[in-house]
Symmetry: C2
Subunit: 504 residues, 2 copies
Amino acid sequence: MAKAPQNAISPTRVDDYPEWYQQVIKAADLAENSPVRGCMVIKPWGYQLWENMQRALDDMFKATGHQNAYFPLFIPMSFLEKEAEHVEGFAKECAVVTHHRLEPKPGGGLQPAGELEEPLIVRPTSETIIGATYAKWVQSYRDLPILINQWANVVRWEMRTRMFLRTAEFLWQEGHTVHATAQEAIEETERMIDVYADFAENWMAMPVTIGSKTPDERFPGAVDTLTIEAMMQDRKALQAGTSHFLGQNFSKAQEIRFQDTQGDLQYAWTTSWGVSTRLIGALIMTHSDDDGFVLPPRLAPTHVVILPIYRDEETRAAVLQYVHTLRDELKAQTYAGVPIRVEIDDRDVRGGEKKWHHVKRGVPIRIEVGPKDIDSQSMFVGRRDQAKSFGLPRSGATQEIANMLADIQQNLFDRAKQLRSDYTRVITNEKDFRDFFTPKNESNPEIHGGFAICHFADHEVLQPLLKELKVTIRCIPRDNNDQPGTCFFTGKPAAKHAIFAKSY
Amino acid sequence: MAKAPQNAISPTRVDDYPEWYQQVIKAADLAENSPVRGCMVIKPWGYQLWENMQRALDDMFKATGHQNAYFPLFIPMSFLEKEAEHVEGFAKECAVVTHHRLEPKPGGGLQPAGELEEPLIVRPTSETIIGATYAKWVQSYRDLPILINQWANVVRWEMRTRMFLRTAEFLWQEGHTVHATAQEAIEETERMIDVYADFAENWMAMPVTIGSKTPDERFPGAVDTLTIEAMMQDRKALQAGTSHFLGQNFSKAQEIRFQDTQGDLQYAWTTSWGVSTRLIGALIMTHSDDDGFVLPPRLAPTHVVILPIYRDEETRAAVLQYVHTLRDELKAQTYAGVPIRVEIDDRDVRGGEKKWHHVKRGVPIRIEVGPKDIDSQSMFVGRRDQAKSFGLPRSGATQEIANMLADIQQNLFDRAKQLRSDYTRVITNEKDFRDFFTPKNESNPEIHGGFAICHFADHEVLQPLLKELKVTIRCIPRDNNDQPGTCFFTGKPAAKHAIFAKSY
């Protein structure tokens, strides 16, 4: 079955990337805007994906010694005031609860009543409320380390929202740990950014670079912020996860102190780290194409969909029997350590429409079975990562499908890595830098060079140039970054290079 | 090893039941009050228990055809106004967001700024916001049924809070379904209360009665509320889960309409159902004793804890080798379909303290191994549901431990059922009814008769009596309730009996 010449998603990526993104979400039935400004509804297909991400991450957190707990949604306003940089970073966009009931309004309707003595903030992140609790838990070095994660919703009153990438409410996990020494806390910060990179590359099939943020891009209150940065298909960077070494900033603001082995009272060292439903946005923009969503098999809610094709009752029975047996065999086969997740779509819907339904939703493998396939003991297979479909003999099919899933996972990763490599350039002077970030294509003014790798001496000196070009320093890569060089802007000696890019 | 004569929890259940409850939570490290009024911190041991409950329930929801999704935390105030009973039920205690940022206050500190045009309510339950979304999703009978569940946090501004039982913020799941016919919606309502009863009895080992609420006890806006009611050890009833048939009340308020097979426009029929972290409170009050928490094995984060006992380096090596082998064998053994969850507690803590640590946390089985046990190829075993400990031969121990876990699960259920039976009485006249609910013991004024089974003709006529005695109609049992009788209060003919009780 040849692929239809027309694309399922309109506009295409080249025509209008931001609008293409919205249309993929709609066509894949992942989410939609809600009646509440800036908040989204995550639909079942999108939520199943999030559940798979959660499960994988949660296993990794537990394997590295963390436990889950749950802390309050609300933060007293006074808590936010304690850490100066933190309040600066979050006070400008937060939901403030000021009343605790509604009462009838004269003339009809309702109005807030029961004003609170102290307003409460809906958590934008939980360092302050969790820190206040840790201050009670930590007395002695014997109480350390504390290694806790929380799965929760958080709210940041963003003015310009985009589904998954930037929403007023989003779902995330936030790890919060306390340690006796700076060294242990730094190791934890590194460990968790490595976990995120592992998840991004081996589950999401999304290549990432691990690095440190420059001071202006750090988490408010952090001493060091580690990040994983990925390239989207429009060559922009997306920050996909961060891990913060908070030093003693929060422990001093919140009095998290412990008696060390000598009996001396010390401030503890803390970290925090998080990823969110933003990862779903990253997944869409890394792999999807002009026919819709493309799911990496390890995270796909459905690995394989089987579409039975028949015209009458007679062939129906034979086809259904064939596909049920096939399904049961596939379910008994494992891929990446789990039974293959397979569904039969036997809805009373036209064949073409049904096929495109699953293409748009990103199901990795589509199997079509009609009466002729039974005669020839075979099936027709479409891989979501390839345009062409092909016949597959029934014999040995289950192992072949498992291999194919592994191949798709690898292929998506390789493809994304190739894209990143194609649009990454080492740049050594200002002229090339300006040129790299200046879009050439008039019909598509968003498309620019991609990632620029440049040595730089001082991030502050660069600010006017970066502002002008709408470029930021995404990170100073941690690995393979020991070669000194010359600052592309000032010509001064520079110890490290950084990735410069436009970003989400 | 004989059990210490003194109890680990003070006060005991008989001395002061409400305070005993708080002390069990503290001793078991389940949760604690937070700095935010009425909100609790769920600590890792409590949260692991909740995760196990979630996993079991989620599997049951999915097995009955439901999918998870996620809807916004906030509800516009105007949404609440649409359903008259609903607003009456929830407007009096809700968190109201009125501003979207904080700004510096003249003279220091912060103050709310950026007033919202329309205040937002933090969801106390999501019928209105989910219904508004369903109204867009439902066009035709082909779109039905919609079978969706959400795991979420909700907020009700309770004035008198108690950990797990009644907190301002709590965690729960809320199912929201839409159907083409009343019959289908009623079947769904029944199906889900059956799922809850199954979970309560077979996972929590907590016997429950399924029944309907009388009109005054219904969910605000429901046509019928089904409930599962359990008896706590102080003989009070606890409503552990509810499933609501909402009729067309919400679909009319929110315009959830569909074209039926004839092409006519009809209002849909909806249901909602939920259980919450309150179940942890129910679990504590059903099984725990004066030594602390008692966990039913199927929900226990740890099934078996092994305590190695040694005095010097020489015996240490031998004991550790013995317990590691034992642990690995136990992990390879299944109980109730999952590998036995076993931990070795090798912390440097005195033996007695370590033992009581696990007793108070409710771990079902405790195994102690010292050098003498190696010599005799055996171990010392303590069951949390029994006072005495006993020796167990090493040979065949893993199967024996698995059997013991099943036995503990059954024993806890039987014990709770016996208690309920002991304190349930059929009552046929007002004098006995008054007597039953009048505490006899002056030193313990809370302890009354328990559950009264009475035929009744009209719930409204009973209100003054019930109010006087602080008793409510818990439910009209669904099963074995076809025998007509005489109203205990009015002497009139009565079709059904109900359970009357004091309650949480």
